[in-house]
Homo-oligomer: 443 residues x 2
C-alpha cells in the first residue's frame, strides 16, 4: 500500500485547497537544503531520497482519505474533487544518496504545480532530514574507526522501528560492515551479525557452561561475551572452551563494559599468549564516534566496534536545520527576507570542483573541471532510472569521502567547507530581493 | 499484517535457538526500566505499551521468515521447527500509558519461557524507550505553557513518519490540544489544526491579497501568518482583512520568527486598539519547553504554542538509559554485578503513596495508603482488557501530574524523586548477590 497522502500538515491542505479553488496551477520550485551544519559535523551525507521518490510516484488521495477530509475537516466537494485529481507529475533534481553535501546546497529540488509541491513538503522534509542526520553521524563512526569494522546495534533504541530500518540502511551506505537487525538484513540484503547477551550467561549455572553450550550450537560463528562477571576471567574461560571444543573459525570476544582500551590490551595479551591470535576483539556499550576515535588513537587492539543508541538517534544532533523553501514561482525567482532565514532563489546546481563547491543556477555553464552534484531523478512524475542498488550509494559515498577536506573529516571540532556563490546566483539573488521588497511594500 | 518476528537482533535468535535446542523452557521474568533520568527531566511518562501488547498478542514467525532464517542465517531444521511453534503465552505487568514513572521503576515486566521473552526484547525496548522519551519531553511543554494550548507541529522533522504518528499520539496523552498531522488526527481521532506557510503569502502579489484569499476560503478558521515581510505591518494587514470581510470566528495571528515576547506584546496592543480582542496569538518557530517557559514567565500575551522539532525528537535527550534485564529465571532471583549496571532482582511492584514511591516485590503486602503502579495487562498471552481509549491515558496523566512533587515539575533543573526500596526487595537483592558471586566463582 502506498503511503497515505494524509501524511501532511493541515496547513498544506488548506493552502492547496486555496490554490486549486482559484486555478493556481502555476509551477513552483521548492528547494530542500540544510541552512547550517550542527556543531561536530564537517559534512552531510545525502540520504532519504529513495523513499521520497517512491512516495511521489504513488502520490494521490484514496477515496476514504477524501471522505475523511470532507467529513472531519470540512473541505467542500469542489476542493475534494480537485484533490482527487492530484498526482505528482513534476520534476525532481537531487543529490543521489551517498553523496557528500554541505550547508545551503540543495539535497533536492522539486518543480510541480504549487498545490502538489506544497502538499508533499512534510514527507520529503521528514525523510531527508532524518536519514541525512543519521547517515552523517554514522559516517563519522566509520571515519573514527579508521578501517576497523563498525556494526549497527541500534535497533532497540532508535525512535521507532521504521527508524531502525533506515538506520541500518544508511549505516550500510556510509560503510558499516553489518547490522544486528535481522529484519533490516532481510529487507536490504545486509550482512547480519550477533553474539549473545548477559542474560544468556546468567541463565546457565556457570559462565563456562554458557560458553560451551553456545559454541556447540554455533561452532562456526562464536563470539564470547566475556564481561558478565569478571572480564579477564571471562577471556580465560573462553580460551578453555575454544581449546576443549577445538574451535577454529570466526572466533571473537566481546567487551561491553569497563575501560575498553585497557581491557582490550589485557585481553589481547592473554589471547596471544594462549596462541589465539585469530580471536577478534569486539567492543560495544554506549559507543559513538568520539569514543571510537579515542579508542583507536590509544592504540587499543580492537578489531570491530558495535555502535547503537548514540548513532541510531544521532544523540548530539538529532535533527538538522533543514528547510523546504519556495525558490521560484510562475517563472519568478523567490526569496525570503527574514534576516536569519536567508534563502537563495531560483533552480540550482552545485558545481563540485577540485577547490570545492560552487552554488549556482541550474542553467549556468559548468565551470571547467567541475561536475554537477544534482541530477534529474524524476521527470513527468516518473523516475528517470530504476531505484539504484544500495551498493551504488555506498560506492558514491566512498568516492566522495576521499575528497572531503581534512578539516571537515576531523572527529573533534571539524570545520565544514562553504560553497562559493556563482556570479549568476548573486545576480538573481539581488533581483529577487528587490521584488520581495516591493511585495512587502518597502520599495 | 502483524509486525515481523524478525524485528529483533540476531543474538536474540542465537540465544533462543540455543535455549530451544536443549529444551530450556523455564520461565524468565525480564524487567524494562530506566536506570537514571537524563538531565532536565524530573519525571517520566509511561508510553509505548499499547503497540507492545499488540506485538506480543500476534507474535509468531511467518513461513517466509523461517525460510529466510534457514537460507540466509544458517539455522537448522530442528531450530526452525521450534521457532515455528513459538507464540507469546506469557504474562505482562506494566505501568499503563500516561502514568508518571521514576528511575528504576519497571515500566513493564514480562514473564514467559526464556526463548520468547528474549526474542521480543528489541521491539519492547524500542517502543517503550522512544515513546516514553517523547511523552516525558512533551509533558514538560504542557507544564511550561501553564494552561495555554500547545499544538504538535513535529511531523516534518521527527525521526521517520512512524515516529511522527507516535509523537502526535503521546503528545495528546500528556495534554496537547491538537496536532497539525492530518494522518495522526485520522488514526487516533485527534483535533487537527493548521494555518498557512510563508510560501503561500509569497505566491500572491501582496500579503493583503494572500490574507484576503485565505480568509475567503476558510472564513471560520483563519489564522494569519504575519511575519513573512514585517510582523507588525502584517498584523495591521490582517486587521484590515478581518474588517473588510467581516470575519468574526476562530481568528488568530501566528508569529513564527523574531523576538516572540516583544512581538506578541506589540501585536496584542495593535489588535486590542483595533477592537480585535478576540483574535488569538499563536507562537511557533524552534520552541521547546525552556523557550515556552521564558515566554510565559515574561508575561507575553501568547494564547497557544506550536512546538515541533525539538519536542518531536526530544532534542536535549533523544533517548533514555533504558534496560531490559533478566530479574528471575526458573524461580531464582537474578542480578547483575557490574558496578555501573546494578539491577534489582525479582518480580516487582511500585507502591505509590503520599510520601512517594516504594520499589518492592510483587507479592509484598501493599503498605497502607499506597496504590500499586503496575497492573496485569496480559495473562496467558492475551490482554486482560481491550486496548483503552487514548482519553484514559490522558486522564491518568492529568491525575498523576498533579501529584508530581514541585521540584520534579520545574522546567529548569528539576529534581526527580527516588523510590525507596522495600525491606523485601533489599533482602532478595542480598540473596541474589550472593548467588551471582557464586556463579562468578568468587564466593
Amino acid at each position: 500500500m502506498p503511503p497515505s497522502a494524509l501524511l501532511t500538515d493541515l496547513y498544506e491542505l488548506n493552502m492547496a485547497a486555496s490554490y486549486l479553488k482559484r486555478g493556481m496551477h502555476q509551477e513552483a520550485t521548492f528547494s530542500l537544503f540544510v541552512r547550517a551544519l550542527p556543531p561536530n559535523r564537517g559534512f552531510l551525507v545525502s540520504a532519504g531520497l529513495e523513499p521520497c521518490l517512491g512516495f511521489l510516484e504513488s502520490f494521490g488521495f484514496a477515496e476514504e482519505e477524501l471522505e475523511h477530509l470532507g467529513r472531519e475537516l470540512g473541505f467542500g466537494d469542489e476542493v475534494l474533487d480537485a484533490f482527487a485529481r492530484l498526482h505528482f507529475e513534476g520534476e525532481v533534481w537531487a543529490a543521489p544518496e551517498g553523496r557528500v553535501v554541505y550547508a545551503n546546497e540543495p539535497l533536492l529540488e522539486i518543480t510541480a504545480p504549487i498545490a502538489v509541491a506544497q502538499l508533499v513538503e512534510p514527507y520529503l522534509l521528514n525523510q531527508i532530514t532524518f536519514q541525512t542526520t543519521i547517515a552523517s553521524k554514522a559516517a563519522r563512526c566509520v571515519l573514527a574507526a579508521g578501517g576497523r569494522s563498525v556494526v549497527d546495534f541500534a535497533l532497540r533504541r532508535t525512535q521507532g522501528l521504521d527508524a531502525a530500518m533506515n538506520v541500518a540502511r544508511v549505516a550500510w551506505i556510509v560503510g558499516f560492515s553489518a547490522t544486528s537487525n535481522v529484519e533490516a538484513g532481510r529487507r536490504f540484503g545486509l550482512p547480519v551479525v550477533g553474539t549473545m547477551a548477559h542474560s544468556y550467561i546468567e541463565s546457565f549455572p556457570t559462565e563456562a557452561e554458557a560458553f560451551r553450550t553456545f559454541a556447540l550450537d554455533f561452532p562456526d560463528r562464536t563470539t564470547f561475551l566475556v564481561d558478565t562477571y569478571d572480564t579477564l576471567n571471562g577471556v580465560r574461560t573462553a580460551i578453555e572452551v575454544i581449546r576443549e571444543l577445538g574451535l577454529e573459525r570466526n572466533l571473537g570476544i566481546r567487551l561491553d563494559s569497563g575501560d575498553l582500551a585497557e581491557l582490550a590490551r589485557r585481553s589481547r595479551a592473554i589471547l596471544d599468549q594462549a596462541g589465539q591470535q585469530g580471536v577478534r576483539i569486539i567492543a560495544s556499550g554506549g559507543l559513538d564516534e568520539f569514543e571510537v576515535d579515542r579508542l583507536v588513537r590509544s592504540g587499543a587492539p580492537i578489531d570491530a566496534f558495535g555502535v547503537g543508541t548514540r548513532i541510531g538517534v544521532s544523540a548530539d544532533a538529532p535533527y538538522l536545520d533543514s528547510a523546504y523553501k519556495l525558490v521560484e514561482y510562475d517563472g519568478r525567482p523567490m526569496i525570503k527576507l527574514s534576516p536569519n532565514k536567508h534563502t537563495f532563489p531560483g533552480r540550482k546546481q552545485v558545481f563540485r570542483g577540485p577547490d570545492g563547491d560552487v552554488l549556482g543556477l541550474r542553467d549556468e555553464e559548468l565551470p571547467a573541471g567541475h561536475e554537477p552534484l544534482l541530477v534529474p531523478v524524476m521527470r513527468g512524475g516518473r523516475r528517470t532510472d530504476p531505484p539504484p542498488a544500495l551498493e551504488t550509494a555506498r560506492e558514491l559515498f566512498r568516492g566522495d569521502l576521499a575528497r572531503v577536506p581534512e578539516a571537515a573529516r576531523r572527529i573533534v571540532e571539524p570545520e565544514p567547507p562553504e560553497a562559493r556563490i556563482s556570479q549568476g546566483l548573486r545576480r538573481l539573488t539581488e533581483r529577487a530581493r528587490r521584488s520581495a521588497l516591493r511585495a512587502a511594500g518597502v520599495l
